[in-house]
């Protein structure tokens, strides 16, 4: 049994230690915004923030979490978050399945790279998209960076 903070709320998980955080979120806590793509840490569809860092939740075992660990999922991002708005303004998604993970990866990426160059975006965003929306994702990140810049 472990108590963690998910999107600011205390949640108690009574699951096997080896259950990945992904499945605890989806099947135990019923939060399906975080997607299962590969279960092997390759695609990034399951990206969430763990204590402020982007992680692939399919590779994080619940047993490895420390008590009080802070998890932020797509459901916990503010409705009007600059990254979400940039995604919306750019009509980025096609099938959309990878996009919650892309957005979580992008928000963490922008924290580390508030004024990214196109090359940094290309090298820093490692989440796969089968529909091929990479061009639109890069544009949305650049747009979000512009918005966030004015908030500083």
């Amino acid at each position: 049994m472990i108590e963690i903070l998910v999107n600011g709320e205390r949640r108690v998980l009574e699951v096997a230690d080896d259950m990945p955080l992904l499945w605890a979120l989806r099947d135990v806590l019923g939060m399906t915004g975080t997607k299962f793509g590969c279960g092997q840490g390759q695609c990034g569809a399951c990206t969430v923030h763990l204590d402020g860092e982007a992680v692939r939740s399919c590779t994080v075992e619940v047993g490895s979490l420390s008590s009080g660990a802070e998890v932020l999922t797509i459901e916990g991002l503010p409705e009007d978050h600059a990254v979400i708005q940039a995604w919306e303004a750019g009509n980025v998604p096609q099938c959309g399945y990878c996009q919650p993970g892309q957005i979580m990866a992008a928000t963490a990426f922008l924290k580390a790279n508030p004024a990214p160059t196109p090359e940094q975006i290309r090298e820093g965003m490692m989440n796969y998209c089968r529909c091929g929306t990479y061009g639109q994702i890069a544009e949305a990140i650049a747009r979000a960076a512009e918005t966030l810049k004015h908030w500083d």
């Binding site: 699951v15 096997a16 259950m19 990945p20 499945w23 989806r26 099947d27 135990v28 019923g30 399906t32 915004g33 975080t34 997607k35 299962f36 793509g37 590969c38 279960g39 092997q40 390759q42 695609c43 569809a45 999922t73 797509i74 459901e75 991002l77 409705e79 979400i84 995604w87 919306e88 009509n91 980025v92 998604p93 096609q94 099938c95 959309g96 399945y97 990878c98 996009q99 919650p100 957005i103 290309r122 090298e123 965003m125 490692m126 989440n127 796969y128 998209c129 089968r130 529909c131 091929g132 929306t133 990479y134 061009g135 639109q136 994702i137």
Partner: protein
């Protein structure tokens, strides 16, 4: 949750609990003039609610191609609805929602808009006509003096207006007009322009419900145990051990394996790993599959058929062969080329999954699925229930690309709930595959080989073209006993170039690999074979590859236009001055009622290949949503790029490899160069947009590699030609 299909009365007026009257079910399209199948009730596609809100139920799957919005706009445009008040639902199976071009309710072949356009537009126009009639009666003003705009009927002379909400109950009582006019394109307010997409706000907040996200009261979750091999009989062992795992509630034998049922997927899949399989009999490996394909290509007597362009009768093979042999004998030069493409995986990012619930003699299914009609009928057959007791619902789909045309995973979910022990009967079960299973049990794009011989005359023009293609037949895989036809994945399509004598033939190869439709289906291999040949021919006669193509497209201005526009974007005229090791290549990539050309610029250095840029030009006639069409072409090019560079599935004792998402020919974010797509318009009819960008990428790349001084690549993927792809 998506709006699920609810059966509606065919009467003009009916009550929805608590909502009062609405204008909902409109009658037969067949009576309303123009096209439309007999007895199609197009009222099933839309409802105008008492408060003026419009609900559109899209008959198609939404898997990233964007028809969710596009199809709803067809209704809203003719209705002159306020787009902000239009909501869209995903249909399940509905017997009335047959795509007229496909003969059933199925999403594929880039047929959504082409198939449903007329009936959806007529649905909107009919409702609009009834609202105008209602207003005309209220005001005592002829309908000709009234107009509609954004959910209102306007009487300009009296400066009066009614909202649709004010008219809906009157309109619902009126007779349904037999004939309604459709708008001229010049009057379009919604179509032909870009608007925010309705599904995007939910998709970017994690709220859109995909099949894998279904949650129901008392729901159980199943993981599959399946043998590693993609085909063949097997014997399962270890079910008792799986059932003994704490948390596991049932183990049910289903199609292709054992479904392990638990409260969560992690527990279920750990238990499923305890089940093992023993293959019954020997399974083929890649060398044997390759040998069978090679033998079919060499065997001129192999069973097969000759094909002519669409719309012409199938020629008798021997006669067609004789004609081309005569023409070939008169050629000054003959160029021969063998080429081949491998098996490919779909790799939708959302693994196969399906949810089912069997209660009180009724089955409900929630599935990300492209073929609801086939799936619902399969479910009826499996359960023995009448079709009207099958409620087949759909969700958003994390990619489809043809994979979800198949319903193997639907069958597994249905068989799971049928086989639940008595204590669990009636509970819903969500069945989810692992990524590895998704890769091991795909319906793969068939490998295929072609032998092409082309005769050139004294003027350097093509005088005869002969191609034989072999591969597994997709039509036969889809429908037992089907006859191969032009859509068949193993067949070459028509040749776009003006050539006096053409002979195209195919020999389906009977092999056990499960094959299916894969984005762009037969176009990808066949356009590869055709377009690398065109560059080889141009080189043979010392012509520029663009000029050589244009010289054979005198009768086809739209093909010329996409190529010429592409050449302009690429700076084709100046490509001869490119630095050493840099090459430009292009390919014509027509299909699905659209004209398309793809260009590539590559750099070669010491065996390393860098794809520097890609360009695409699309002429799909009227682009209903220009931005989405550009994105579809771009996305299709990314899809085609990954396949061209790295896509290849091989089999060892029936087991597919590779399986990882990152090495099955899926473009990585850093592996995609800048892509520029331009739309041009050469006609009015709306062409398909989702697939046509795929096929041109591989030949454009191969032609560019050759131009850069690299090898002549005749076999995909490109990475197998000894080039290291650098990203």
């Amino acid at each position: 949750m998506p709006v699920a299909y609810e059966p509606v009365s065919r009467r003009g007026v009916f009550k929805i609990a608590g909502l009062g009257l609405c204008l909902a079910a409109l009658p037969s399209a067949a009576r309303a003039g123009e096209a439309g199948g007999e007895g199609e009730a197009f009222g099933i596609y839309m409802r105008l609610m008492p408060d003026g809100a419009v609900q559109v139920l899209t008959p198609n799957a939404e898997m990233g191609q964007g028809t969710y919005d596009a199809l709803a706009k067809l209704v809203a445009e003719e209705l002159d609805a306020d787009w902000a008040r239009v909501s869209i639902g995903l249909s399940g199976f509905h017997p009335g929602m047959v795509n007229p071009r496909l003969g059933q309710q199925v999403t594929g072949n880039s047929e959504a808009v082409r198939g449903y356009s007329t009936i959806l537009r007529r649905a909107g126009a009919t409702a609009r006509a009834m609202l105008v009639q209602a207003a005309s009666l209220r005001w005592g003003v002829p309908t000709a003096r009234l107009r509609t705009e954004a959910g209102h009927v306007l009487n300009d002379m009296a400066e009066a207006r009614f909202s649709y909400a004010e008219l809906v109950s009157d309109a619902a009582l009126l007779p349904v007009p037999e004939v309604v006019p459709l708008k001229d394109e010049a009057d379009f307010r919604l179509l032909g322009r870009d608007l925010p997409r309705k599904e995007v706000p939910d998709k970017v907040r994690g709220r859109a419900i995909y099949g894998i996200d279904i949650k129901l009261p008392d729901m159980l979750v199943a993981a599959m145990a399946m043998p590693a091999a993609a085909w063949g009989g097997f014997r399962a062992m270890g079910m008792e051990a799986a059932l003994a795992v704490p948390g596991v509630q049932a183990v049910v034998p289903v199609r292709g394996g054992q479904a392990v049922v638990a409260g969560d997927w992690w527990t279920a899949q750990k238990a499923a790993a305890l089940i093992s399989f023993e293959a019954e009999g020997e399974l083929l490996s890649q060398a044997a599959l390759d040998a069978a394909m090679a033998a079919a290509l060499d065997d001129d007597d192999a069973p097969g058929a000759a094909f002519a362009p669409y719309g012409t009768p199938l020629p008798v093979r021997d006669e067609s062969r004789a004609l081309v042999a005569d023409a070939m004998a008169g050629a000054v030069k003959r160029v021969r080329m063998d080429a081949d493409v491998p098996y490919l995986a779909h790799a939708t990012l959302e693994p196969m999954n399906c949810t089912a619930q069997l209660t009180d003699g009724a089955l409900t299914v929630w599935a990300p699925n492209q073929s609801p009609e086939d799936s619902a009928k399969l479910a009826a057959k499996l359960t023995g229930l009448p079709l009207d007791r099958i409620d087949f619902r759909r969700t958003f789909m994390g990619g489809g690309f043809g994979r979800r045309w198949n319903n193997d995973y639907v069958q597994q979910a249905v068989e799971t709930v049928m086989g639940l022990p008595p204590t669990l009967q009636g509970r819903p079960v969500k069945l989810v595959w692992s990524r590895t299973q998704d890769g091991q049990h795909d319906f793969y794009r068939s490998a295929s080989r072609a032998r092409t011989e082309v005769g050139l005359d004294a003027g350097g023009r093509i005088c005869a073209w002969r191609t034989k293609v072999v591969g597994q037949s997709l039509m036969l895989a889809w429908r037992e006993g089907a006859t191969p036809q032009m859509r068949d994945g193993s067949l070459i399509k028509e040749l776009p170039y003006g050539v006096p004598v053409v002979h195209l033939e195919t020999a389906p190869v009977s092999l056990p690999v499960p094959v299916g439709f894969w984005r762009s289906v037969a176009h990808m291999p066949n356009i590869f074979f055709q377009e690398i040949m065109m560059d080889a021919l141009a080189a043979e006669v010392g012509a520029d590859p663009l000029d050589f193509r244009l010289a054979h497209l005198a009768e086809d201005p739209r093909s010329r236009a996409v190529l010429e526009t592409l050449a302009g974007m690429m700076g084709w005229a100046g490509r001869g001055r490119a630095p050493k090791g840099v090459g430009h290549g292009l390919a014509l990539s027509n299909g699905y009622g659209s004209w398309c050309a793809v260009g590539a610029r590559v750099k070669l250095a010491e065996g390393q290949l860098i794809v520097e840029r890609l360009w695409g030009v699309m002429d799909c006639g009227l682009a209903l949503e220009p931005e989405n069409v550009r994105r579809q072409v771009e996305g299709a090019m990314v899809f085609g790029l990954g396949a061209a560079l790295d896509g290849r599935v091989s089999f060892e004792d029936g087991v597919a490899s590779p399986l990882g998402l990152t090495d099955i020919g899926m473009s990585s974010p850093a592996g995609v160069p800048p892509i520029e797509v331009k739309l041009i318009r050469g006609g009015d009819a709306v062409g398909g947009a989702g697939e046509v960008g795929v096929p041109g990428v591989a030949p454009a790349l191969c032609n560019a590699i050759l131009a850069a001084g690299g090898p002549a690549i005749r076999s995909l993927p490109i990475s197998a030609a000894g080039l290291t792809v650098v990203v």
